[in-house]
Symmetry: C2
Subunit: 420 residues, 2 copies
């Protein structure tokens, strides 16, 4: 029986495993976490709308119904491409086929102070830490008598105007307006500043211009300060440093300005490009190793001269492609080159507000929001999770309540960069 | 306006605050956490049945509707009883009345190795850490080739035969039998050992003998090894040390054998007894300080020659009493001595199985379980939490699913006492 090792149980890895299950392979899934994480809703965990457990799903519950698929909880240290072996802390396994689907991590572009004092949003714990930071800042502000310190505590700087930055800014604004304003009668909500900083000239760069303008207008109407063409060069405790020597007093810097391939890519001597992504051939394999596929955020492939984006739909389609390519290979056929079918993209802005570009049609406002909501519920795994998420959203929408505003976990290391 | 400071937002503190709200006092609640924790269901978070967020409630959501009640997120360092001042990291506040309701912490009785290698269950994070340990042990066992190491990974020792130990042992047994047995087809479930160790001669010491016997029989039928009259003297990595030089190879020692008053009691030079509990007068105040009340687990008071237990009902009744006593005092009356009205006690054992002694009537089996379920849902705060808990329980009961089996957080410090 041929063994397929899949590293990573994200959107790409899971799709590949499903295709290969029950087809006579020994499929081994390896991941550091024992759950599949629905990353598109991480920002809602960070803004007190959802509990962390409602956007994850136990991997062993998924594969229970997939014949021939096993799971190992382990980090992958390295890969010997020649000997076809994967090294884990707990041992070594050999493979016939390898699918690398380890995803991405935050790209701080080498700015150490941002990594140190800022917050990012890739792992489940990041969302809990960021939520705790936001709520903690309000709790500190209540007890802070110095006016400028209090202002810095109540200033939230979001760097990166992509979907994550936009969705987070909108959700934070509504958390403040509808929930925290009642929680903290001692504070004046007009002292709260939410600043969205973007280096380029527009938000949601990959969206049609009409939707970019709509998003900008709506965010501004919600009271969010949008600073376009503004670079962030670093951070200090209580301060975000912008280009040209200016700075913003703030204790909360959320960095949503870039991602790079997971560090597993470092362990491989293969051709890589900017952001540590592995260059793949049109069939998603790497040079000289037709048995090694790379899918999702780790893979770099251009289509029509443009690099494919690091998004869930690309990872899902690539994962399915890799699974099918292996099936075809075993039947003696080769696979046609991978082609990404772009169904579109979307971003939620706020209550009943979103933008969506679907099959080249533009939607904005309530229609886009309903599409966003239905699709997110659809792609979430498990009826229980859908029920809990829907219950939370209904509470939020009809009762203006976000009940997960629980401070659980502070940032490790420089955990306490609040004023003492 | 007179100021009442209440330290702790558990069952006692919250009840006191509710009584005093809207009565013309400046009520200041202080706690290290920004949420009320429903401790009786912590063991279900530890056994993958409930998400942590479903058993907590944001304190500011509670007090939003209580006039005159404010909240400060802070730890209390010390108290100056003479000057009537409370010291926090963030400042000092003065009071006219003080209600100490900071609860209890685990009592390791000075056995450092148990504190170091064992697990306990008082805080929300403890439950997540313990759950991660249990699930992590199974994941390690799958990858462990040494038979005796694998046996130690699959052996779970619970120390303490009170309600927490009994409920946890039963829930763990069902997690293994109905869920993990399907998650880990590579492991033989008969290799899993759950051992409940109790120093005295019976489980549930405070319950009627008939219910004690029932509980013992049921737990044994569920495959749990119950060791009565057995002392635990310490722990090593991978080993639990019993009295008389024997030991049990196990990587998971859950210590549910004792509690003591919260460490805030250390900061007070007042009369204390075993377990650091503060001796209170019949009106729950302390000697020479009629303005200082101590309620709940921190307070030591005998009734009919027997110390009141450290339970939620005692804390709730004492909290209400303290609130009412302050109201009466302000009206020029003194309060009658506190009397605990014992409605009974109960413990869940498993699916449709519980024991309950209510108003001196004994219930066991399904009837007791239904009483248990209804009362726990009733005392949980918030409709959303009740809905989520009920959804989880229905999933568990009808579909044999426990979907919160997510590994999130390992123990700090000696985090990794698994074999490498």
């Amino acid at each position: 029986m041929k063994r397929v090792i899949i590293v990573g149980v994200g959107f790409g890895g899971l799709r590949a495993a499903r295709i290969l299950s029950g087809k006579g392979f020994d499929v081994l899934l390896i991941d550091r976490n024992n759950y599949h994480l629905f990353q598109p809703l991480l920002y809602q965990v960070a803004t007190a709308a959802l509990e962390q457990e409602s956007i994850v799903y136990p991997i062993r519950e998924v594969i229970r119904y997939w014949k021939g698929v096993r799971f190992r909880l382990a980090g992958v240290h390295g890969i010997d491409l020649e000997q076809r072996r994967v090294f884990m802390a707990t041992g070594t396994v050999e493979y016939d086929y390898l699918i690398l689907a380890a995803g991405s991590i935050t790209n701080f572009f080498g700015i150490d102070t941002i990594k140190r004092y800022g917050y990012d949003l890739k792992h489940l714990s990041d969302a809990v830490v960021l939520r705790s930071q936001i709520l903690g800042a309000f709790e500190r502000a209540v007890q802070e008598s110095d006016v400028s310190e209090r202002a810095a505590l109540l200033t939230f700087v979001i760097v990166g105007g992509g979907p994550t930055g936009v969705e987070f800014a909108g959700a934070l604004s509504e958390l403040v307006r509808y929930v925290l304003s009642k929680d903290y009668p001692e504070l004046r909500m007009k002292d709260v500043r939410i600043i969205l900083v973007e280096a380029s000239g527009s938000l949601l760069l990959t969206f049609p211009g009409k939707l970019q303008d709509y998003t900008l207008t709506r965010l501004q109407q919600m009271g969010i300060e949008v600073k376009l063409r503004t670079a962030v060069r670093g951070a200090e405790p209580g301060r975000v440093l912008l280009g040209e020597g200016t700075s913003i007093p703030s204790y909360t810097l959320f960095w949503a300005a870039g991602v790079r391939a997971a560090s597993l890519a470092d362990a491989l001597s293969v051709k890589k490009v900017r952001g540590n992504r592995i260059v793949v051939k049109p069939d998603l394999t790497i040079d000289d190793h037709p048995e090694v596929f790379v899918v999702g955020d780790m893979a770099y492939l251009e289509q029509g001269g443009i690099p494919l984006p690091m998004t869930a739909p690309v990872a899902m389609q690539q994962g399915e492609y890799a699974g099918r390519a292996i099936l075809r290979r075993e039947q003696g056929y080769s696979a046609k080159p991978f082609r990404y079918f772009d169904r579109g993209s979307m971003a939620a802005i706020g209550r009943g507000l979103a933008v969506a570009n679907i099959m080249n049609l533009n939607f904005s406002g309530l229609a886009a929001w309903i599409i966003w909501l239905v699709l997110h519920l659809f792609f979430l795994i498990g009826f229980r999770n859908r029920a809990v998420v829907l219950l939370n959203w209904a509470y939020d929408y009809f009762l203006f309540k976000k009940q997960i505003r629980i401070i659980l976990q502070e940032k490790k290391g420089d955990s306490n960069n609040f004023p003492e």
